[in-house]
C-alpha cells in the first residue's frame, strides 16, 4: 500500500485529504508543519508528499527545498497545494522543488486523479 504524507497546519484540510486518499486505498500520515514533515520523512520515506505553502515554523517552500537536499528522499514527487494562485507563487513552488502546484480547494476527484498520476497508479 502506498504511503502519503499530508503536510498542512489546518487540521480540517488534513482530515479532508486523509478522507479522500484513504477511501481510495492509500495510507496517510499527517504533519502539521515542515519541520515535523522532515522528521517523519527522514524516519520513514513516503511515496508522495502533499504540501501546503503557508505554515508556521517551516513553510512549504522551506520544506521542499530542504527535502530535495536529502539524498534518500529527493526523488519522491511532491504536490504543493495552496490558495495562492498567482503565477509568481507557482514559479516559487516549482523553484522550491514541487512537481505540481495545485490551487485550493481541490475537489476530491481532482486530488485523487493527480495522486494516481504522480504515483503511476491505474484507477
Amino acid at each position: 500500500m502506498k504511503h502519503i504524507l499530508v503536510i498542512d497546519d489546518a487540521a480540517t484540510v488534513r482530515m479532508y485529504h486523509r478522507n479522500i486518499l484513504e477511501t481510495a486505498g492509500y495510507r496517510v500520515d499527517e504533519a502539521i508543519n515542515g519541520i515535523e514533515a522532515l522528521e517523519k520523512a527522514l524516519v520513514k520515506p513516503y511515496d508522495l508528499y502533499i504540501v501546503d505553502v503557508n505554515m508556521p515554523k517551516l513553510d512549504g517552500y522551506g520544506f521542499l527545498k530542504e527535502f530535495r537536499r536529502q539524498e534518500d528522499l529527493s526523488q519522491t514527487p511532491a504536490i504543493m497545494v495552496t490558495t495562492e494562485a498567482g503565477a509568481n507563487d507557482r514559479a516559487l513552488g516549482y523553484a522550491a522543488g514541487a512537481n505540481l502546484y495545485l490551487t485550493k480547494p481541490i475537489k476530491p476527484h481532482e486530488l485523487l486523479s493527480y495522486t494516481r498520476l504522480l504515483l503511476g497508479d491505474l484507477a
Binding site: 508556521p56 514559479a91 498520476l117
Partner: protein
C-alpha cells in the same frame, strides 16, 4: 454532522479566537512583523478550510479579510484601529455563521447580503489605501469593486429574459440607468393587517421579469393555512429607485433590493443541445482576441452567425460577444470568458472574481486539451486532462529553471523523472526515460529531460486526438508575455529559498520531537464519565451499611471486617478517579478572561474613556461549570466598572490621576477556592448616595439610614431591588444589577464582596469553589426526617441550653462568644407546627450558618454524620422549591433532601 465539518468548526473557532488575540496584540505593537505574519496565516488557513465546504458567504468574508491582511503584511495598507474594528466585526460575523452551521448544518441565504457588505467594507479599506499608494491602480480597484458587486449576483436566482430584453437592460445599465432586482417576503400574518402582497407587486412599474415562490410548510394540503402568507415575490424592474422606495415604504424590512450591473444581463439563451461551433473557430477567435485584432474577430463571428441557426445557444453567445466588443471594448476578460463558454458550454459565471479568469491559464490548458470530439468516460477524460497538466508542469519546471541558471540537484531531476514515469504509467503509455535521466544526471542539466519531453509530446499528438498544438501556443504566449516577472520571481524564489535553508538548519535542531499530546474530547463524554463516577461513589457508600448488616443482622463479624477492608480500597480508587476526572474538567479562567481585552477596548472606546486592562492569574484553574458560571457576573462587573467606575480622561486629570484608568482582573487559588478580584482606580462608590437611594427605595428605614456603617451601605448594592434604570442614570457609583451578580455567584456556592473608597476606586471580589461536583453536607434530623445542609455554609455546630435562649422583640436569640446570634427553628422554617426536640440536658442542637455575611443559628433535633454527595438539582414541581438546593442518593438508597439556608431564611 460529519466529522470533517465538526473538525472545521472546532478548528475554525480556535482560529477566530487566535485572530482576535493577535489583533489585540497588534494594537500594542502595530509594526510587529511576526504578529502580522501569524495573523495573516490564521485568516488564510481559515479561508482555505472554509473553501472545502459550500459556505460561499463565509468564504467571501474571509477572502476579503485575507486580502486585506495580505496588504497589511506587505505594508501596502497601514494598520489602523478602524481596520482592526472592521476585521473583528467580520470575524464576529464568521463566528455567527459557524454557530448557525453547527445548529442547522448550513448558512441561511439571508446572510448573503451582510456577507457581501462585510467583504465590501474590508475591500474598501484595501482600495482606499491602495489608490493612495499607487496612482496607477484605478483599473485594479474598479475590478475589485466589480468582483464584489458580481459576487452579490451569485445570490440572485437566474432570471430568464428574452435576449432582446436582456440587451436593452444591458445597454441601459451601461449608461448608468439602473435596473433593480426586488424580493418581497411579506410577513406570514400580513393578510390580517389588510395587506395584499400581490396587489402591491402589481403596482411596480416597468416590471420585466417576475417570479413567485410558494413555501408551503403544511405536510398535507388540507392543513394548509391559507391565511398565513407563504409567498415570496421577486421581480426585475427599471423603475426609479425613489418610486420603489415610495411603493414599499410600509414594508421596508420585507424588501430586499439589489442593483443589477450590466454584465449580469449577459446571459446567453437558446437551444444548447446542438452545439455546432467548431473547436478551430473558437481557438481562432481567442487568438484574434488575444492579438486585439477586433475587426477580423468581428468579421469571423458575423460569418459564423450567418452560418448558424439564430436560436442556438452558441449563436446567442456570439451575439453577446459582438455586443461586448462594441459597448465594452476594454473588457477583454468578459469577452474572453464568453468565447470560452463556447467550449465549456456553460455560461460565464460573472460572479466569480474577475481575476480568476485571467489567472487560470493553467486551467485553460486542461480545457484546450480536451478535444470536444473525444468523449470517453468522464473519469478517463479528467485523467487525461490532468496528465497534461502534470506533464506541462514538469516542462515548466525544467525550462524555467533552465533559464534562470538554477542549480540542479540529482534529487530534483529524479523527482521529475519519477513524476513523468508515474504519469505515463497511469495513462498506460510507454515511458523509457531511464537513459535520459542518466544523461541528465551526468550532465547535471535538465536539457536531456526537456528534449525527451518535447519529443514525447509531439509524438503523442498523433496517438490521441488532442489539440496539443493549441496548448503550446497558449503556454508560450502566456510565458512570453511575462518573462521579466518570471525572472525576477526566480531571484526572489532563490533568495527566499536560501533564507529558508538557513532557518531550516537551525530549527531542525531546536524543535526536535514536538508531538502534540493533547486530546480534544466532547464535553458530553466527560459529563457522562462524571455521572458514572458519581453513581459509583454512591454505590460505594453502600458498603459500610452492608458491613454493618453483616455484623448486626447476620452476626458474621469476619465478613463485616473484610467488607470494610475492601471498602477502603474501593474508596481510595473511587476518590482518585473522582480527582482525576475533576482535573480533566478543570479549565483555566483565561477561557473567560480572554474576551475582556476586546470587550474593554470596545466599551471604553465607545465611552471615550482610556482604560488599561491588566489580567493576572489567567492560568488559575477551576471546574468548567464554575468557570462558565463566572462568565456573566464578571462581564457585568467589568461593564459596571467601565460605565460607572472609571472616569473620563479630563475628569481623571482634574482629580490628579493618570488620564488612563486601570482595571485589574486577577484570579488566584486559595486552598479549595478560586478568588477573582476586579479592581479599578475610578471614582469609587459614595456610601451617602447609596444610603439615600436605598432609603428612597424603601430598602432601609430611617433608623438604619442613620446608623448604617459605610461598608454596610456599600453592601446594599447587592440587595435585590436596589438597582433600577433610574438609579443607573444618576448614581455616581455602580449598582446595575449587582443583585443578579450576587445570585449567579451564590448559585454555584460562591460569595461576593465589595470594598470601595470614594475617589480611589472599587474592588469587588468573588470567591468560588474549585469544583461543584461533589458537595460535603452534614446530615441533620428534624421532626423525624433527615436533611442535608452544605458544609461550606456551616460555621459550627453547637448545643444551646434552653436557659441561654432569650427572646428579644419576639425573636429568639442567644449569645455566642459575646455575639448576639438570632435563632430560628427548622420546623418553623419548614412550616411544621412542632417544637424542636432538646436532648436530655435540655440543650438544642444548633447549626450556626453564615448567610449573606451574618451568623444565624438554626435549631434542629439532632446532628448526624457528614457525607460527600453528588448534588442533583430537583426537577419538575420540586424544582420550584427554592428552599432546597437539590437532592442526593445516599448509600442505603434513600433520598436526602439538601436544604438551601440562604433561601430558607
Amino acid at each position: 454532522m460529519n466529522n470533517l465539518l465538526e473538525q472545521f468548526l472546532s478548528e475554525g473557532r480556535d482560529f477566530l479566537q487566535g485572530i482576535g488575540e493577535k489583533l489585540m496584540q497588534l494594537e500594542d505593537e502595530p509594526n510587529s512583523t511576526p504578529l502580522m505574519t501569524e495573523l495573516f496565516r490564521f485568516v488564510h488557513t481559515l479561508k482555505g478550510n472554509s473553501g472545502l465546504f459550500e459556505f460561499p458567504e463565509m468564504t467571501r468574508v474571509l477572502h476579503a479579510s485575507e486580502d486585506l491582511m495580505d496588504a497589511v503584511r506587505n505594508g501596502r495598507v497601514g494598520y489602523s484601529q478602524d481596520l482592526a474594528d472592521q476585521l473583528l466585526d467580520a470575524m464576529d460575523f464568521v463566528g455567527m455563521l459557524m454557530d448557525e452551521i453547527e445548529a442547522t448544518g448550513e448558512i441561511s441565504k439571508n446572510h448573503a447580503v451582510p456577507a457581501a457588505e462585510h467583504a465590501q467594507v474590508l475591500r474598501s479599506l484595501l482600495v482606499v489605501s491602495e489608490s493612495n499608494a499607487d496612482s496607477n491602480s484605478d483599473l485594479h480597484t474598479s475590478s475589485e469593486i466589480k468582483s464584489e458587486v458580481n459576487s452579490l449576483l451569485a445570490e440572485l436566482p437566474i432570471f430568464e429574459l428574452e435576449e432582446s430584453v436582456a440587451e436593452e437592460l444591458y445597454l441601459h445599465a451601461l449608461e448608468g440607468e439602473t435596473a433593480f432586482w426586488v424580493e418581497y417576503k411579506p410577513e406570514s400574518d400580513c393578510f390580517f393587517k389588510g395587506e395584499d402582497p400581490l396587489f402591491l407587486m402589481r403596482q411596480v412599474p416597468d416590471t420585466l421579469w417576475r417570479h413567485i415562490i410558494l413555501n408551503n410548510t403544511a405536510p398535507i394540503l388540507a392543513e394548509m393555512d391559507v391565511y398565513s402568507n407563504q409567498l415570496v415575490f421577486q421581480l426585475l424592474t427599471t423603475a426609479p429607485s425613489e418610486e420603489l422606495d415610495d411603493l414599499f415604504r410600509y414594508v421596508p424590512d420585507e424588501i430586499k433590493r439589489i442593483e443589477i450591473p450590466a454584465l449580469a444581463f449577459v446571459r446567453p439563451t437558446g437551444n444548447q443541445d446542438d452545439h455546432a461551433i467548431d473547436i478551430d473557430f473558437i481557438d481562432n477567435a481567442l487568438a484574434l482576441l488575444n492579438k486585439n485584432n477586433i475587426s477580423v474577430l468581428t468579421q469571423i463571428i458575423n460569418t459564423m452567425l450567418e452560418l448558424s441557426a439564430p436560436e442556438l445557444w452558441s449563436s446567442s453567445v456570439l451575439r453577446w460577444v459582438l455586443r461586448l466588443l462594441e459597448h465594452e471594448p476594454d473588457n477583454k476578460t468578459a469577452q474572453h470568458a464568453l468565447l470560452k463558454s463556447l467550449q465549456t458550454l456553460t455560461a460565464p459565471d460573472w460572479s466569480a472574481p474577475a481575476e480568476h479568469v485571467e489567472r487560470s491559464d493553467s486551467k485553460e490548458v486542461e480545457h484546450a486539451t480536451t478535444s470536444v470530439n473525444v468523449r470517453k468516460t468522464e473519469e478517463d477524460d479528467e485523467l487525461l486532462q490532468n496528465f497534461y497538466v502534470v506533464v506541462n508542469a514538469q516542462r515548466e519546471i525544467l525550462s524555467l529553471s533552465h533559464k534562470s541558471g538554477f542549480s540542479w540537484t540529482a534529487g530534483r531531476l529524479k523527482s521529475i523523472a519519477s513524476t513523468l514515469m508515474g504519469c505515463y504509467r497511469a495513462v498506460n503509455r510507454e515511458c523509457n526515460i531511464d537513459n535520459v535521466l542518466e544523461r541528465a544526471l551526468a550532465e547535471n542539466s535538465p536539457t536531456p529531460l526537456l528534449t525527451w519531453l518535447e519529443e514525447s509530446l509531439a509524438n503523442n499528438e498523433q496517438d490521441v486526438e488532442i489539440e496539443v498544438e493549441t496548448d503550446f501556443s497558449e503556454i508560450s504566449t502566456s510565458s512570453e508575455s511575462t518573462p521579466n516577472a518570471l525572472i525576477s520571481d526566480h531571484k526572489d524564489a532563490h533568495e527566499n529559498v536560501v533564507h529558508n535553508e538557513a532557518k531550516t538548519a537551525r530549527r531542525v535542531d531546536e524543535v526536535s520531537t514536538v508531538v502534540p499530546k493533547t486530546l480534544k474530547v466532547d464535553q458530553d463524554k466527560i459529563d457522562r464519565l462524571m455521572n458514572l463516577i458519581g453513581e459509583m461513589v454512591v454505590a460505594k457508600n453502600a458498603l459500610p451499611y452492608l458491613a454493618n448488616r453483616a455484623e448486626t443482622v447476620f452476626g458474621v463479624r469476619d465478613l463485616s471486617r473484610e467488607i470494610k477492608a475492601q471498602y477502603a480500597v474501593i474508596n481510595r480508587v473511587a476518590e482518585e478517579m473522582q480527582d482525576t476526572i475533576m482535573q480533566v474538567r478543570m479549565m483555566p479562567v483565561s477561557f473567560i478572561f480572554q474576551r475582556f481585552p476586546r470587550m474593554v477596548r470596545d466599551i471604553s472606546r465607545k465611552l471615550g474613556k482610556e482604560v488599561e486592562l491588566v489580567l493576572e492569574g489567567e492560568s488559575t484553574e477551576a471546574d468548567k461549570n464554575i468557570v462558565e458560571a463566572l462568565s456573566d457576573p464578571l462581564i457585568h462587573i467589568v461593564r459596571n466598572s467601565l460605565d460607572h467606575g472609571l472616569e473620563q480622561p479630563d475628569v481623571r486629570l482634574a482629580a490628579g490621576k493618570n488620564a488612563t484608568g486601570k482595571l485589574t482582573i486577577r484570579a488566584t487559588q486559595e486552598s479549595d477556592r478560586v478568588l477573582i478580584e476586579i479592581m479599578d482606580d475610578g471614582k469609587g462608590i459614595d456610601p451617602k448616595i447609596i444610603k439615600h437611594k436605598a432609603y428612597e427605595k424603601g430598602l432601609i428605614d430611617e433608623t438604619t439610614l442613620e446608623r448604617i456603617s459605610d461598608q454596610d451601605a456599600i453592601n446594599l448594592i447587592f440587595a435585590a431591588g436596589f438597582s433600577t434604570v433610574e438609579v443607573i442614570s444618576d448614581l455616581s457609583g455602580r449598582g446595575v444589577g449587582m443583585d443578579v451578580v450576587r445570585s449567579a455567584v451564590e448559585k454555584v456556592n460562591g460569595t461576593v464582596g465589595i470594598e470601595s473608597q470614594v475617589g480611589k476606586g472599587t474592588r469587588i471580589h468573588l470567591s468560588l469553589p474549585l469544583s461543584m461536583a461533589v458537595t460535603n453536607v452534614i446530615i441533620i434530623e428534624s421532626n423525624k426526617q433527615i436533611f442535608g445542609v452544605p458544609m461550606d455554609m456551616v460555621v459550627e455546630t453547637v448545643r444551646v441550653p434552653r436557659s441561654q435562649i432569650r427572646t428579644i422583640k419576639h425573636k429568639q436569640t442567644t449569645v455566642l462568644r459575646g455575639r448576639v446570634v438570632p435563632l430560628l427553628s427548622l420546623n418553623q422554617l419548614l412550616a411544621r407546627g412542632v417544637e424542636q426536640l432538646p436532648n436530655e440536658d435540655d440543650e438544642f442542637a444548633t447549626l450556626i450558618v453564615r448567610v449573606h455575611g451574618e451568623h444565624i443559628g438554626i435549631l434542629v433535633d439532632e446532628f448526624r454524620e457528614t457525607v460527600d454527595i453528588i448534588l442533583k438539582p430537583m426537577a419538575g414541581i420540586l424544582g420550584g422549591l427554592s428552599s432546597y438546593s437539590g437532592a442526593a442518593l445516599l448509600g442505603d438508597g434513600s433520598v436526602l433532601m439538601v436544604l438551601n439556608p440562604r433561601e430558607l431564611i
